[in-house]
Amino acid sequence: MRAYLNTINNPWRVLDELMTEFPYDLLNSAWRTRSGHYPRVNVWESEQGLVVEAEVAGVDPEKLEVAVDANVLTLKGSRAQADGTKSEFQRSFNLPFELDNENVKAKAKNGMLTVSIPRKAAAEKRKILIENA
């Protein structure tokens, strides 16, 4: 059983997490996590909006919740533990722009949650003509 125990308390995982999570948070100050560290995410941005991928192994897709409030994106859910209890998680992000919460698309497959959210249409810009005096 020793081999099992060593894997559960795997010290390398801590290093892996440090290596993959630590620098990006510092580099992307506009994208700082507002709260929570789980789940890990990849976020892609374009003129149209965002695509977010989140690792949620062992989470029943029905227990996942995606919430968008102006420029705050929240991923929420609960996981069943080995002892039959549930563990809740929540992670929120402050985004540098507002999102359209009416058109969020989300799907979960193989323990990976994929969410695509369009940007909120900007208030119509008005062009002001400058008259030649």
Binding site: T7, T20, Y24, N42, V51, V56, A57, A82, N110, G111
Partner: protein, 125 residues
């Protein structure tokens, strides 16, 4: 940092960063259950093999990639999950079963008949 970036951008599938998946072992009366977290891994990208009493699991995850979008947060690298377990004598290797659900690989390792708990009834002398 450099290693993580390298694994994502340059090395790709040929030589991915190898990580040990999060694993849990539970014991029931008739079997052990080995649960391995493999988020983003499709069934076809999991390989389970048994050599003597060593059970090996390798798997590769898939993450989205776009050329017309900018990646603003990158916490999930493309990796190769690798784990090996020395199975105790009490496991009946012929009866091992595997299931895959919500990114979890669940292996059932049945115990050999002679090590399962048995109730011994007392016969009236």
């Amino acid at each position: 940092m450099s290693l993580a970036t390298k694994s994502e951008n340059e090395v790709q599938k040929v030589n991915r960063l190898e990580v040990t998946p999060v694993t849990r072992v539970d014991e029931q009366e008739a079997a052990f259950t080995l649960t391995v977290e493999l988020p983003g891994v499709s069934e076809k990208d999991v390989e389970i093999s048994l050599e003597n009493r060593t059970l090996s699991i390798t798997a590769e995850n898939t993450v989205l990639s776009f050329t017309d979008r900018e990646r603003v947060l990158a916490e999930i690298p493309e990796v190769r999950y690798r784990a090996a377990f020395e199975l105790p004598e009490r496991v009946e290797t012929a009866g091992i079963k595997a299931a895959h659900k919500n990114g979890l690989l669940i292996l059932t390792l049945p115990k050999r008949e002679e090590v399962k708990p048995r109730r011994i009834s007392i016969t009236a002398g």
